[in-house]
Symmetry: C2
Subunit: 345 residues, 2 copies
């Protein structure tokens, strides 16, 4: 089993393919395969499809890692990974583990993608729990705001949140080239006395320079701050993070839907024609498909988890991000960022 | 001390004024007093202003409850209420307690308004903790979605959440005339296995008809469901609820700001003129100022807590809602809804 350090290095690593789960997502395999083919045709990135031969549609001349089973969107993640050992998600993670792929991308069952990465790639040393980092598009800032954990761990400890801060900063650094990412804690008020015991204890640990968390902690932020550009990384537990992420998605979908409805009124055809050239760039900047998907941080490999509704465009972005971060050494950076955390409890 | 049942009843109660904290909010006292005067001039609702005589501006011939102190927006809520016994917030709550007012309205320090209501009006029998219920405007549904707790209790137990479900349903019934409000639990997936232990235990209690919660529990909802109209009441702890509420506010403010920016481009003046008549009703429907503010449920009196940025329009709505709910018997309905909750722990 090729662990970090024993895997292919340098040029050898850089010429490994990105293993793409052809069967994951609401629009699989067609949109997944279309995105993978576009990357292979238009860039130097190598792509391998993972799935049942003959069931992936027209895959052109893309190489494959065969996998006879599929973990469905509604399958129990843990059971799915344990029982379907020949599934596309499991085989993709094994390809990274064994040094045959540089990264995985899946738009399938998020929990199963996490479980496959955790069980097959393994956790990085010292990491208590991996977390999902989701870039929140922010058209007013030079880069998205990274939210983590956006759903991997419903229950968290202060030590876990400190590590999320460290891993999130490492990710923001590699992903957006931010030299010293500003890390904030999601709470219900700016004051350090606000929030749950979890938030207050984490605040104390992050604010304690001597604790050696090694991140640029800027204090608490609130839900209304996602578009304010006051921090690059928002740290929270996976329950709160998931609720916030889906609340944002719901609000955006609702407002954009309402606006589209208004602009489709016959009497507004002229206004719509004038407006769309200005609205489309805004909508594109807000579209989660442009961010390249969420990233599972803390496992021994690059694992990109795309939205279940991902189109071929989303897959192009996700595969590109997976490749770029694998080559940039994301896993080593995350591993180096994480310290054992000493907590009072 | 006039407790529920010993206070003025019937016609006598219905002719009490609504006590309005003239000094609470970012735009106090001018906007507060303007709203109170409009209600007094344009409706049959009686209004009394609470604040320092001579410091409330032009109050016309409105009656007052004098109070020499003001609890600021940044004051510690508990300390503020304990130390400033002659503050407008404390005196307003006392006016309800003593049967001199039917309800209070404040746009001031939310925590202090809660503390004043809790300490002066008192908790209703059997209520473990009061909660803040916030109506989330939903233009696609016949009424807003009620979110509670939206910030009173960062830490909650399953028994508290069951009571929030009961109180929220009683509020939605009185406020919107919903015969059998559909109550949902905010989580990170529809399945009852999803979420924190708090959510899973609450799910079990609410789903157990024999438990006698007496609400129409429709299961879990997610953050993306606020505009879907699938439940009338969303129940959660005050930390998650506050993050979700502020995330919604932030997303709305961002998108409306971006749209306003686009529509102010000189070359889009014509399109903007055509569009605004359609956009303004949508914006009005989404405006929290139209919902009449949040309501503290579980205390022995009607206490409306308006947004800190409340204008005179928001105050008109808040005072009207406070009056209508006091007359409709909200407090009795909430008291009747709450059962002692037997939990395994």
């Amino acid at each position: 089993m090729a662990r970090r350090g024993t895997r292919p290095q340098g040029d050898e690593f850089n010429t490994l393919p990105v293993a793409v789960d052809a069967m994951g997502g609401d629009r699989a395999p067609a949109e997944i395969v279309a995105g993978a083919r576009r990357v292979a045709e238009e860039t130097d990135i190598l792509v391998a499809l993972v799935g049942p031969p003959g069931e992936m549609g027209d895959i052109g001349d893309l190489p494959t890692f065969p996998a006879s089973e599929v973990i469905g969107m509604d399958d129990d993640p843990g059971q799915g990974v344990r029982r379907k050992k020949d599934s596309s998600l499991v085989r993709a993670a094994e390809a990274v583990r064994d040094g045959r792929a540089m990264a995985t991308v899946s738009a399938g069952n998020t929990g199963a993608a996490m479980a496959a990465a955790l069980l097959r790639m393994g956790r990085l040393p010292s990491v208590i729990r991996p977390a999902i980092a989701t870039p929140i598009p922010n058209p007013g800032a030079p880069w998205p705001t990274v939210l983590l954990d956006s759903g991997a761990n419903a229950e968290c400890t202060p030590a876990m949140l400190v590590q999320f801060a460290q891993m999130g900063a490492a990710f923001a650094g590699k992903r957006y080239g931010i030299e010293k990412p500003r890390v904030a804690l999601l709470s219900i008020g700016e004051e350090k006395s606000k929030g749950t015991p979890l938030v207050k204890e984490t605040y104390a640990l992050l604010a304690d320079g001597a604790g050696g968390a090694g991140v640029d902690f800027v204090g608490n932020v609130e839900g209304r701050d996602f578009f304010e550009g006051i921090a690059d990384v928002f740290v929270t537990d996976g329950f709160t993070g998931n609720v916030a992420l889906k609340t944002l998605e719901g609000a955006m979908r609702f407002l954009i839907g309402a606006l589209t409805g208004i602009l489709s009124l016959p009497e507004l055809a002229g206004a719509a024609d004038a407006l769309y050239p200005h609205l489309l760039p805004l909508a594109a900047n807000l579209d989660p498909e442009t961010t390249g998907g969420a990233m599972l941080l803390g496992v021994d490999g690059v694992s990109v988890i795309s939205h279940g509704s991902s189109s071929s465009v989303a897959m192009v972005n996700a595969i590109t991000v997976a490749h770029d971060l694998a080559v940039a050494g994301l896993v080593d950076a995350v591993a180096a960022s994480v310290t054992g955390v000493t907590t009072p409890d």
